[in-house]
């Protein structure tokens, strides 16, 4: 089995009106990765995801999925989409049926699974996103965050190997973001490859093991998690901020509030731990 799930080579995409959305884009997504596609609004993140799933046809270049060139026949695309799931940014674009359970069943039904299997998968998928008790509630009566979770359940019920999420935290409150990250962590632990598009550098910093930075349709930088701190100037050049956790960590380090050699925190909670650990040391020393 190929170690690379997606590979684009000099990928280019033009909108029907001639504007360039993606330019000469070459990147790889490794199996089991947690990839953040970082970029400001209009940088081409959504267009790239739609291209990866064969929903848009590239104007130039090549896409390889699971080691093979991405086929355009109906059968090829169906095979690809049964292995790769995409959660759209706006849940109202994705929910096709007003019945939550029905909507979640849509993907598994398209896979041609046995009805009993579909039923089990719908129940499991809804439970895994904490929406089991909402199966009989109409989609229009759900909150934005709940709709989002139903959308994710609709994809999980298809048991994809790769999960693509387009701006999954947009419009979610802090608690819902936490829950979403919990769900993603479980899926990743089960071996799923996850690609998430976002302009939220804090989210990428906390979550990703690799970042691909897009700017005006071009791939302008890539880095592994361990290289994040050296890549900050590059982030800044492309309309992305510094991760706040890293900023505070560095300031605290300079001010001597954190002992040198403390592992670099990625999340707010880890940062607080690092600060708390240091303050205990300070008290003990005095």
């Amino acid at each position: 089995m190929s170690d690379v799930v997606f590979e684009t080579v000099a990928l280019g995409y033009r909108y029907p009106d001639g504007r360039s959305a993606l330019v000469d884009l070459t990147l790889r997504v490794r199996r089991g990765g947690r990839v953040a596609l970082l970029g400001a609004n209009g940088s081409g993140k959504t267009t790239l995801l739609l291209n990866l799933l064969g929903l848009l046809t590239p104007s130039s270049g090549e896409i390889r999925a699971f080691g093979e060139p991405l086929g355009r026949s109906a059968a090829d695309l169906k095979r690809l989409r049964s292995r790769v799931g995409l959660v759209f940014q706006n849940p109202d674009s994705q929910l096709l049926s007003a019945s939550v359970a029905e909507d979640v069943s849509f993907g598994p039904m398209n896979l041609g699974l046995d009805l009993d299997v579909v039923r089990t998968r719908v129940a499991e998928a809804l439970a895994s996103v904490g929406m089991a008790e909402h199966a009989d509630i109409p989609a229009h009566a759900l909150s934005f965050g709940q709709k989002k979770r139903v959308c994710i359940a609709g994809i999980l019920a298809m048991r994809p190997e790769v999960l693509l999420l387009d701006e999954p935290t947009a419009g979610l409150d802090a608690a819902a973001v936490e829950e979403l990250l919990g769900v993603l962590a479980r899926l990743h632990a089960d071996g799923m490859t996850i690609v998430l598009s976002t302009h939220d550098i804090d989210l990428a910093y906390a979550w990703a093991d690799r970042a691909e930075v897009l700017h005006r349709g071009r791939l302008v930088g890539s880095c592994e998690a361990r290289e994040f701190s050296t890549a900050f100037p590059m982030f800044m050049r492309h309309d992305l901020a510094h991760p706040r956790v890293a900023e505070i960590y560095n300031t605290a380090l300079d001010a001597g509030l954190i002992a040198p050699g403390t592992p670099e925190p990625r999340t707010h909670a880890q940062l607080l731990d690092a600060l708390a650990g240091a303050s205990i040391d300070v008290k003990e020393a005095s």
């Binding site: 995409l86 109409p138 989609a139 009566a141």
Partner: protein, 253 residues
């Protein structure tokens, strides 16, 4: 949420199978057509209304509120059926007259429609649309129709949210502050909505393809327990209603 929606999901008979409720509504419709108008038809309308209010537990006030608009339509139709325009023959060159025969036809048509409306309201106020659509699917209603129902019903809420947002945004910028502004804002909103629905239809199609969707929208049917029993009970009440409807005379003497 719309009033019909609220009761469709929140009535006492929410858990009763759609088959049973649809059978009762269909037999109610039959009763509406076999009843002798106007008294028999009014009796059927009253019976169906009573079942909806007392049986399913839809508050009478809400029932009246939901029914007001179709009732108003019926009244307008009754007037147009009953009244005819006569040229000459009176003191004025043009006069409005009610011919006795036409009046009787109007009353019969309206009373019958009222009974049929009550049967429809029974179904609408006790059964969520998603259940009705899944029944249509099982009854082999042409796929295109069922899919249009599914998408239209879903889009109804998505687009009414969009309209609501647009209206609020326009109102906040005084879009409805004068007659002139009102017309202009409404025009803009209609144009925007057309573009918005087109844009959303493209994304919705992409989302369907992304989930390995093909030419047909396929969903899992809800599991149905205890359906034969409920269907038998509902059908016997429905048949009783049909029989009773034939026994009530059209005119009380």
């Amino acid at each position: 949420m719309m009033l019909t929606e609220r009761y469709a999901y929140g009535n006492r008979w929410r858990a009763v199978s759609v088959d049973a409720k649809a059978a009762f509504a269909a037999l109610g419709m039959v009763a509406a057509f076999v009843a002798h108008p106007p008294v028999g038809s009014f009796a059927v309308a009253a019976a169906l209304g009573t079942v909806t209010v007392l049986g399913a537990g839809v508050p009478a006030r809400s029932y009246a509120k939901v029914a007001t608009i179709p009732w108003a339509f019926l009244m307008v139709s009754a007037v147009t059926l009953a009244v005819s325009v006569r040229l000459g023959g009176g003191p004025l060159p043009v006069s409005l007259v009610v011919e006795p025969q036409q009046g009787a036809i109007a009353v019969a048509a309206v009373s019958r429609s009222l009974a049929a409306l009550s049967a429809t309201l029974f179904l609408a106020l006790t059964t969520p649309m998603t259940d009705v659509i899944s029944l249509a699917r099982r009854l082999h209603v042409p796929t295109t129709l069922v899919e249009m129902m599914t998408i239209c019903y879903r889009s109804l809420f998505v687009l009414s949210d969009a309209v609501n947002d647009m209206r609020q945004a326009q109102t906040a910028r005084l879009g409805y502050s004068s007659w002139r502004n009102r017309i202009r804002s409404m025009g803009t909103a209609v144009a925007l909505l057309a573009i918005e629905s087109w844009r959303r239809s493209i994304v919705m199609h992409q989302a369907s393809l992304a989930r390995a969707g093909g030419d047909e929208l396929r969903f899992l049917e809800p599991q149905r327990d205890g359906v034969p029993g409920q269907l038998a009970i509902a059908s016997s009440f429905g048949v009783a209603l049909v029989v009773a409807a034939t026994l009530v005379p059209g005119i009380l003497v």
